[in-house]
């Protein structure tokens, strides 16, 4: 049999170049699984299409891309490794939706205040007092607002704080949770470097920065890499004082 025996043989080139429209591409792929002529041609031509991938002028990758990618990877790695060897690897299907970055709109302080009032924030409930003799007095504060299925505490010891959540849904595709500090000075909440996802609904996040003058710790979901100003309403709010 010659290579030209299949009437669809010309589609092999379109297939490896991804020039077949969606639908036809999958249809041809299905055909090729049962057509050894097309399979052989795809294999032959894939050598070239693979080679073409690197046949472009080489450019430097902007460093900020690395920062954004690695901030997410480190956050997810930490959660994964903390979950231990039995944890599921975060395998996700290729998302079809594209998210845009750095197209951020400011989120005014008034909007924060209004949203938290709607959520019924009147200050967090003190769950436990000092821990006793060693170290600064530690306390756990129930988050004043969080999704209904989630539990959330802010653990404060001295100037350090840790946000501990459970039952929290993963952020939407292409987004990540970011911690914000809402200070009692009338300005919009300030960003922190604390970006996190959840593992089986759980996360434990150190709240960076000085809590002095902070009235609330907030969490929003933001584009991967984080934002300079919040772009969504908070999903979690915990009153510090």
């Amino acid at each position: 049999m010659s290579f030209d025996d299949c009437p669809l043989i010309d589609d092999a080139a379109s297939y490896v170049l991804r020039a077949l429209p969606d639908g036809e591409w999958e249809h041809y792929e299905e055909h090729a699984t049962e057509c050894h002529v097309c399979t052989a041609k795809i294999e032959e031509l894939s050598f070239v299409s693979d080679a073409l991938l690197s046949a472009v002028p080489q450019l430097s990758t902007p460093p900020e891309v690395r920062s954004r990618v690695m901030s997410v990877v480190r956050a997810e790695s930490e959660l994964l490794l903390a979950a231990g060897p039995m944890a599921d690897r975060p395998i996700r299907p290729e998302p079809s939706r594209r998210f845009s970055l750095l197209r951020l709109r400011p989120w005014p302080a008034t909007a924060v205040a209004a949203s938290l009032l709607v959520l019924g924030i009147g200050g967090g409930a003190l769950l436990s007092g000092g821990t006793g003799s060693d170290g600064p007095a530690a306390r756990s504060i129930a988050c004043a607002s969080a999704p209904a299925a989630a539990s959330c505490q802010l653990r404060v010891a001295g100037g350090d704080a840790e946000l501990v959540v459970a039952g929290l849904e993963a952020p939407p595709e292409g987004r990540i949770y970011q911690v914000w500090l809402d200070r009692d000075n009338g300005t919009a909440p300030g960003p922190t470097e604390a970006l996190f996802s959840v593992r089986k609904g759980r996360a434990s996040v150190d709240v960076p920065g000085d809590l002095k003058g902070v009235k609330q710790v907030l969490v929003t979901d933001e584009p991967v890499g984080g934002s300079e100003v919040p772009t969504r309403q908070p999903v979690i709010a915990a009153s510090v004082s």
């Binding site: 080489q58 450019l59 891309v65 990618v69 690695m70 991967v224």
Partner: protein
């Protein structure tokens, strides 16, 4: 296999000595430092491809970021029997860029250098592998350039422009069967020219 240890931390130097395929085993376990080495090795090629296809820096950055996060989260799917890590990475970038281009409402497929970014390489010293890759890349580009113009054009429009064969047929006012034939003939000629090429391993 490998100099890879089990259940142990690897120093950055040790990680950089590992082959891509060994690094991917660590990535599967969720080791961020191993992933970072993979990123270091292939991000420039990924960005270059994305920029060549998308034509703007923000779009290329988005594609690269999405692609690397995707491969971080799907590292277990890498199958060394189906090719190198580099090809796998660039394949993801290519698919993402095409998806991005086809979603574009305006669909204004522009070309690179419209932002004044000319071809430039990282200032750091190139390794032997990188030099070999550049040479290989040049050889592939030359093979594309030696094709008849009507063949190289349809290949470029499809592969780097993200156009479908029917869009190309309309664009160049040529029957779709002719477009498909040109693609196939062009790729077959390149295959013959590049027959001796072997992928450079990292």
């Amino acid at each position: 296999m490998s100099r890879m240890r089990k259940n142990a931390d690897h120093s950055p130097t040790e990680l950089r000595d590992l082959a891509d395929e060994d690094l991917m085993q660590l990535v599967r376990r969720g080791e961020a430092q191993a992933f970072e080495v993979v990123y270091e090795r292939h991000s420039s090629a990924a960005f270059s491809l994305a920029y060549r296809m998308c034509g703007t820096r923000p779009a290329a950055e988005d594609v690269v970021q999405e692609s690397f996060l995707s491969l971080w989260r799907s590292g277990a799917r890498y199958d060394r029997a189906r090719g190198s890590v580099r090809t796998w990475v660039l394949g993801i970038v290519h698919n993402r860029a095409i998806d991005s281009l086809r979603r574009s409402v305006v669909h204004d497929r522009r070309r690179a250098s419209d932002e004044g970014i000319e071809e430039r390489f990282e200032a750091r010293e190139r390794t032997e592998v990188e030099v070999a890759r550049l040479s290989e890349s040049e050889e592939i580009r030359q093979a594309l350039l030696t094709l008849p113009a009507e063949q190289s054009r349809v290949i470029e429009l499809a592969y780097f422009g993200g156009f479908t064969q029917s869009e190309i047929a309309t664009m160049i006012d040529t029957p779709i069967g002719t477009v498909k034939g040109r693609m196939r003939l062009g790729l077959e000629k390149m295959r013959a020219q590049l027959g001796g090429l072997r992928e450079v391993m990292p």
